[in-house]
Symmetry: C2
Amino acid sequence: METRELRYFVAVAEELHFGRAADRLGIAQPPLSRTIAQLEHRLGVALLTRTSRRVALTDAGAVLLAEGRAILGAVAAAERRTKTVDRPSLVLAAKAGGSGELLAKLLDAYAAEPGAVAVDLLLCKAHTWQPLLDGRADVALLHEPFDSTVGLDVEPLQTECQFAILPASHPLAGADRLRMADVADLPELVRWPEPDGSYLPGPGAEVHDLTQLFQLISLGRAVAVMPEVVRTGLLEGLVAVPVADAPKVTTVIAWPPHSRSRAVADLVRVATGFS
Amino acid sequence: METRELRYFVAVAEELHFGRAADRLGIAQPPLSRTIAQLEHRLGVALLTRTSRRVALTDAGAVLLAEGRAILGAVAAAERRTKTVDRPSLVLAAKAGGSGELLAKLLDAYAAEPGAVAVDLLLCKAHTWQPLLDGRADVALLHEPFDSTVGLDVEPLQTECQFAILPASHPLAGADRLRMADVADLPELVRWPEPDGSYLPGPGAEVHDLTQLFQLISLGRAVAVMPEVVRTGLLEGLVAVPVADAPKVTTVIAWPPHSRSRAVADLVRVATGFS
DNA sequence: TGGCAGCGATACCCGGCCGGTATGGATAGC
DNA sequence: GCTATCCATACCGGCCGGGTATCGCTGCCA
């Protein structure tokens, strides 16, 4: 199995459309069809069921999609790490807007280490960056249980409670503490984008960053439940009320398990040292 | 980066010899040289330093070797899992001769599970199978701290002390317990084969399995320190004396972190259930 | 129900790349 | 200094990957 075949298959499996996939890959559709057919023939398994109107994944196709994504990520990571071994630097991924204080402390403390290398920050839109470790970053700050950490080595850094963010005028804003039941079925919950940037249909406003969310909350059009970190820089007119039974959020530092980088080890040691 | 290029590079990096690597790959040497040169050119990094008499890895080459091995393993695993998704089975790797009782209990208990699939056993020579999870097996029984578990998800099953295996006539055989210092510099320690099946030069007999080792011990030509498991089936004339300060050995069940298989999850649950 | 639009498969051609043989040039050992 | 070894280069042929043109099928809709 060549990575070219995997790239092609993953594209088709994600688009479920040979034409769009070929377009995305920058090739014509016929060679793409042929390559997928060859791959299926060689594996001896059907990966896709296709009528001329609909393309769907088989069970085998679903397996290969998941494995293929991981492999392509690993290939990209290997390429980047190989290329940058002589001018070592470290790419740290973090959710834009989250963990601001922790991030600053971490960068300062690491920079003071002997042998520290340059740290490139990769700030990502919330909820869109779980696969970043597949190649583009060496280390990431994740938030359990929101972000999946399967396949990663992880050290916890800090655990915090979650707060409901409400407009000061909201009926629940005066409460000392809330329970999930109080907010779970409020009509003002919002929809975050899917990893591909689109929004699932449904009720609730579409939001794509914290600023926008806070604005909606100020207008009384939304409420949200989120960890303590975002309280710094909360807008006027908003209040944060602790939600007693919301799951605790743990900020963790995560890295690919086969990381052999001295820099990654140093950064993790520094991060766990002052947590 | 295509997997073909990675296969070629890994072969050269392991052999440190273009001719032998080409031989192993079943191609001629010139296309191999050319492919490696192209790969280096594309990455913009030298992977190997070569004179006409010696080939050595650069730092970048060492990184790519490690990453490449992992990637090739993942590709092999993806291929096997995709092909067998319709007739589900599970490949369990275990060290030949070790963990016999635990293994039997595990297989029985799993077979009694509802929804159990066929389990194929992959018995491996001791000390030669750490990379098996790179494609050939779904799950493995490993022994920490001997086997590296980096990059794997792991659940501990049981922890045992280690015993010195001595002929009954050995001066230390009568002791209640020993310390590492007592056995560390005995001249009768043995040499296990390297992963490639060869033996490093040095003192001590070459052994490649437990039967052979026990025979050597019976003859007074060797001693060994190993976990309790091997005591079952110990030959007549051998005694096992606990070594107080030898590192504890933990048998763990391990699987690749991105395993999405129901069968693997079941097996792990069963294994941890009765440990 | 028949025409039409959309989409994947097939047919066919071309160019580049992979792999082969032959050979050159450098180095270490005798 | 000769020679054996080993990697690089030169060159060639066949295969394969990618392109265009077209076919056949399937929903949709008038």
